[in-house]
Symmetry: C2
Subunit: 371 residues, 2 copies
């Protein structure tokens, strides 16, 4: 039988690692003391087992536990439960990686579009992509739409709602989505480009179904969803059942998890169908390190069974000046999301947007250059 | 206008607190620098503001930020987004409390049964309640049902599925739920008592609807749900729309949040409709302190607008021997959940269950005693 290999980082003294690892294997499988398991099937096929323990330079230990795929029922919620249900309550435990066996992974579709699909939609193949955000919230639908048209008319590839835009009285979802989609269509008709507008869908499952329908009816080409906020199972379901267009994942509520960012934002969001993933870039107003950012991009883009590559979208206080550095760091398969730094230009917004877009295009790496 | 008062704990040097608090107020409202906000409505009605900063004995600071209720759209997902969407990505920020204004809270029903409703269902008014768990997973539906009957026949009030039981091949949901419900009904018919069986519902939103229907059709009197695992919005929706019976909330995935446990498990789960809430008790195999446990129980039971009181369910390695201490700590309005410690009795399970139940009944505090 192929098992699910789950890696946890333990912060316990060295002489407690073996016992903590064994306790973790029981907690994340049968959740009873070993002596309670008297059934041979359960002992052989269900109880988790410690496969490997590695001491790290900082004194923590990475422990790989094997969990039985049958315990997941091949359901997203139950899989997350098996990976980190009770152990999330243990402060000394961090979930850092998971390797699903091929026959488990084959049951999940993963991203429906991925990097290549997004590039095809934009007709942009040989350069990094650009993204801007509609904000602040409190603006009316019409003013958000005007902003959307400005961004698209000045060369932004994807204009997304701020993740704070929901179904608020000052810019109701249906009114905003239609107005912004029409705005991007006007800009495209004038420019001959193929910019996309990505509205933010947020709510309980039934609200998501309604919002997905409104977005579909309006003809939008992409959507923004926050998997950790919606719940990973609800996210996976709305992607699989309600959406045909690419999905841009937002990390809202996803930092507060004690799940390693490359695993959660890179791997798990990809498993569940995200086509692009936003995360706080190194050096911005959040604290992710260069190593963490590189690891997120690797988890998103590296070959992984049949799952399409996902587009990394570094954000979080990115300035126009940092474009060359960011493209050098990630290569071409990246989308740079600049939010507040563009809006701060005030009346110079159109010019500043063009500067950003042109800088990204100029920084594109040629095929002959090293990535 | 009444605002939502949100309290965050900041771990930054004292001379950075004011700037960090101001940044937090912007991040959790408009998500742009203050100078970008040129609109008077947004500046007056939408931008978050720092209301209070208090230094704590350990050198951290509690900062209260006022957020505008209109930004939530009165939606669960968007409210959680406003409370902790982006700031969850800031490692120096912990979400510790929230005070909703009355007109906001009035839009949410909260627990439909609460402590009193659960007591009425059990016909048990003047003593702490008892709970046991069906596990380990890997047992067949018939063997789980036999265990359920043993617990109920020997006086347990609520027999719940282990939260690891889902829709697995070795004990499919529909088969297990019907078998366990019939088992508890047989035990009740023989004993004249009113024990309840609480199956665990876990899955994506559509699966939850199906499972809720199966549970309803089988006549179950309570259900177990893990709000953090399902996603808070999905949890709230299935409670409000699919379930009539009391809801027992499980903390799975809820520890890994950097949201203070009394807020998440006590207050937010109550806001969203939990009637009882399981959490790791002090001194068990998880690390919650006595203060944290007392604060969870307070958040669950204290008067709070129109929201019914929620039953605290301490668990996590609770032993029979600790019953007197636990009842002294919490008083009568508590349900003691003993899991593995009962199952470890093996062939003595019926006798050990009776010892547990009788000890809880003996420890009940009389009305004349101090709580």
């Amino acid at each position: 039988m192929a098992w699910i290999d789950v890696t946890y980082r333990l912060r316990v003294p060295r002489d407690e690692v073996a016992a903590a690892a064994q306790a973790l294997a029981l907690e994340q499988s049968v959740e009873v003391p070993a002596e309670v398991v008297r059934d041979a099937f359960i002992a052989d096929q269900i109880v988790g087992r410690v496969a490997e323990t590695r001491e790290r330079a900082d004194g923590t230990h990475d422990v790989t536990i094997r969990l039985a795929p049958a315990t997941t029922g091949y359901d997203v919620a139950q899989t997350v439960n098996m990976l980190f249900g009770n152990s999330s309550l243990h402060e000394h435990v961090e979930l850092v990686d998971v390797a699903f066996p091929a026959d488990f992974l084959a049951r999940f579709h993963g991203p429906r579009h991925g990097v290549d699909g997004i590039r095809r939609a934009l007709r942009a193949y040989d350069r990094p992509l650009t993204c801007a955000a509609l904000k602040p919230q409190g603006l009316s639908a019409q003013r958000l739409a005007a902003l959307c048209e400005t961004f698209a008319a000045n060369g932004i590839d994807i204009v997304k709602d701020d993740h704070g835009l929901a179904d608020q009285a000052y810019a109701p979802f249906a009114e905003r989505v239609v107005a912004c989609q029409r705005a991007v269509e006007r800009a495209n008709a004038a420019s001959g480009r193929h910019a996309l507008y990505a509205p933010s869908l947020v709510g309980a499952p039934r609200a998501l179904v309604t919002q997905a329908r409104i977005a579909r009816d309006a003809g939008v080409g992409m959507v923004l969803l926050a998997p950790a906020l919606l719940g990973l199972p609800a996210f996976a379901e709305v992607v699989a059942e309600q959406l045909d267009v690419p999905v841009l994942a937002h990390p809202a509520l996803g930092g507060a998890t004690r799940i390693a960012a490359p695993l959660l934002l890179g791997k798990l969001f990809r498993w569940l169908g995200a086509d692009a993933v936003i995360y706080p870039n190194v050096g911005g107003r959040f604290a992710y390190s260069a190593d963490t950012c590189a690891a997120i991009a690797t988890a998103a883009r590296a070959p992984w069974s049949h799952l399409r590559a996902v587009l990394p979208v570094p954000a979080g206080g990115l300035s126009v000046e940092r474009v060359p550095e960011v493209v050098r760091f990630y290569g071409n398969d990246v989308m740079l999301l600049v939010g507040g730094a563009l809006l701060a230009a005030g009346d110079r917004l159109p010019a500043r947007t063009r500067e950003f877009v042109e800088l990204v295009h100029r920084c594109a790496q040629r095929a002959s250059e090293p990535a």
